[in-house]
């Protein structure tokens, strides 16, 4: 089986080479963030934490991160609540045209938001939502809603109705059953949806870029871009800012992987 061994070595070789290429942009951002006099190409750093200290102590950055948090948390909470409510009847009842409805949701998930930005801008000016965080939250929530409903319904389907029935016998209403029985059992699912929406908002550049004007309201996504576009850019601080801003996305991704696998393990709530 000599050829098999050779194939394996080639496979490892190709993967390693690809990984090294993929690593180049990342190597820059990590090394430059630790460098006293970073430039735009990869180089060995004169190690310092000053870039991070500067980024983390700047009050402009604090505001940008706070704005990002307000938008992302607002949108996640709104989406989870509304999508959770919508998913309940879809999961528990026979509804006319349910299939068509779900397929329409699926269709909406894949439409690029770019296509609606001009009218949304127009609408927001009319409704006085332009240049407000509330506007961004509402738009982010509605554009992630189709996917959130889809996810929520699937997670809810895996919670057996029998557990709710017990609660109804004890006199709980449908909403109470949903809140006290179904939601705790699909906690992993709710978390996944929340993380999905939060990361989406945290990383979203287009929406705040087009729908906000006031510099003080911009989330980190836009201020990082503005910092990048400035003429007197310090590459070390740019890299440190990038990494600090990317950190929540990375942490949440790792968390979501964990929740996802737990979610599958929890499926048999009624057994035993």
């Amino acid at each position: 089986m000599k050829s098999k061994k050779r194939d394996k070595i080639i496979a490892y070789g190709i993967l390693t080479l690809l990984a090294l290429i993929f690593l180049l942009p990342l190597a820059w951002v990590v090394l430059a963030s630790l460098d006293t006099n970073a430039n735009i190409a990869v180089k060995m750093p004169n190690v310092t934490l000053d870039n991070y200290i500067n980024v983390l102590t700047s009050s402009t950055n604090h505001r940008a991160f706070a704005n990002g948090l307000v938008i992302s948390i607002g949108a996640s909470v709104l989406t989870v609540v509304l999508a959770g409510l919508m998913a309940y009847p879809l999961s528990r009842y026979e509804i006319k045209h349910k299939r068509l409805f779900m397929l329409t949701m699926l269709f909406m998930t894949c439409l690029p938001v770019t296509t609606v930005m001009v009218p949304v801008y127009r609408l927001f000016v009319m409704l006085k939502l332009y240049d407000t965080h509330l506007g961004i939250i509402l738009f982010m929530a509605s554009s992630t809603m189709p996917y959130a409903v889809w996810m929520m319904k699937n997670f809810m389907d895996s919670v057996p109705v029998s557990l709710e029935e017990a609660a109804w016998v004890d006199g709980a209403g449908k909403l109470q059953g949903l809140i006290h029985v179904v939601v705790p059992l699909m906690f992993a699912g709710v978390s996944s949806v929340a993380i999905y929406v939060f990361s989406g908002c945290w990383g979203n550049f287009l929406t705040p870029f087009l729908l906000l004007r006031d510099y003080n309201k911009m989330p980190a996504a836009v201020s990082l871009y503005q910092y990048f576009g400035a003429h007197t850019v310090s590459y070390g601080q740019l890299a440190a800012f990038s990494l600090v801003y990317a950190l929540p996305s990375i942490i949440l991704y790792v968390l979501s992987q964990r929740y996802m696998s737990k979610g599958f393990a929890m499926e048999g709530g009624a057994k035993g």
């Binding site: 942009p25 820059w28 409903v149 550049f205």
Partner: protein, 295 residues
């Protein structure tokens, strides 16, 4: 499954979500269609009187070389990005199968990182590699070659490479899941019959994961053609109009030149193309659901 006896309650559950979605997603789509037939613009004398102009915007678009050029740019960007992401994503997923666990744990996150990072960070990182004084040119000079001005001479190539770098992980994950579902004995049987590796891939594996290939191609196409941030941050559509895809042109027309009607007509083109790919995607997914566990 219960019968529909408490209709009011169901409606109460559905209403708030439907309302928000309708307001900020469906109404804008309807507005896109409506406004594309009007003279809508943001400022100036025309702003006061909204007038129905029929197909004028569309005629204007068909005559406008900037738009046609932009359509071409969008096609280039999309076709090459989608091909690159899908082929590379499949290749990595395929090669990663059955490899050493530690190796997978080290190499996997390298590919994933580009995808997990926010768009702006990814764009800045990609810029750092491709710009004049960037990493690639530095490496070229180290091995004694002269540097190449990627962002000025080959800007479209640069943004496509950046987009492939950023998006490949998504396709890789999709294909990993699909390949896991291909039974091992099918492959073994093919190899025993004397099929080469590439024959096995083409004639055994690809037919089995055909639906995944279709849906993923549709999805990556949709994600790419509407892409704005990466191009805007790296090149802002330039130099000149060399990377001016439809979303960038739409932004310039609507938000820089305040020609909202024109910008809206451009979004209509995007919306129409997106709808076609979206319908194909939903059709294939719908068929999969019927065969699967979905009710």
């Amino acid at each position: 499954m219960k019968k529909n006896k408490d209709r009011g309650l169901l409606f109460a559950f559905m209403a708030p979500g439907l309302f928000v979605m309708a307001c900020f997603f469906l109404v804008p789509i309807a507005m896109t269609i409506f406004y594309s037939f009007t003279n809508l613009s943001l400022t100036g004398s025309e702003a006061a009187s909204l007038r129905f102009t029929g197909l004028e915007n569309y005629f204007k678009i068909l005559r406008d070389s900037a738009v046609l050029d932009s359509v071409k740019k969008t096609l280039q960007y999309t076709v090459f990005s989608v091909l690159g992401q899908n082929i590379l994503g499949f290749m990595i997923a395929y090669l990663m199968q059955g490899k050493n666990q530690i190796f997978r744990k080290i190499v996997g996150p390298v590919f994933l990182a580009a995808w997990v990072m926010p768009e702006v960070v990814g764009s800045v990182c990609a810029y750092s590699v491709l710009t004049d004084k960037g990493t690639i040119n530095m490496l070229l000079q180290i091995i004694g070659l002269s540097k190449i001005s990627w962002m000025y001479k080959y800007p479209m190539f640069a943004v496509i490479v950046a987009n492939i770098w950023r998006g490949t992980a998504y396709s890789m994950m999709v294909y990993q899941a699909a390949l896991d579902s291909v039974p091992g004995d099918v492959r073994d049987a093919a190899q025993i019959d004397g099929a080469t590796r590439s024959q096995t891939i083409l004639h055994v594996i690809v037919p089995i994961i055909k639906n995944t290939i279709t849906t993923n191609t549709m999805l990556t196409t949709l994600m790419t053609m509407g892409g704005f941030g990466l191009i805007y941050i790296m090149t802002a559509g330039g130099p000149g109009t060399k990377t001016q895809t439809l979303p960038i042109l739409m932004y310039t027309k609507a938000f820089k030149n305040y020609e909202l009607g024109y910008g809206t007509a451009i979004s209509m083109i995007l919306l129409l193309i997106a709808a076609i790919f979206g319908i194909i995607y939903v059709k294939v997914m719908g068929k999969e659901m019927e065969g699967g566990h979905e009710k």
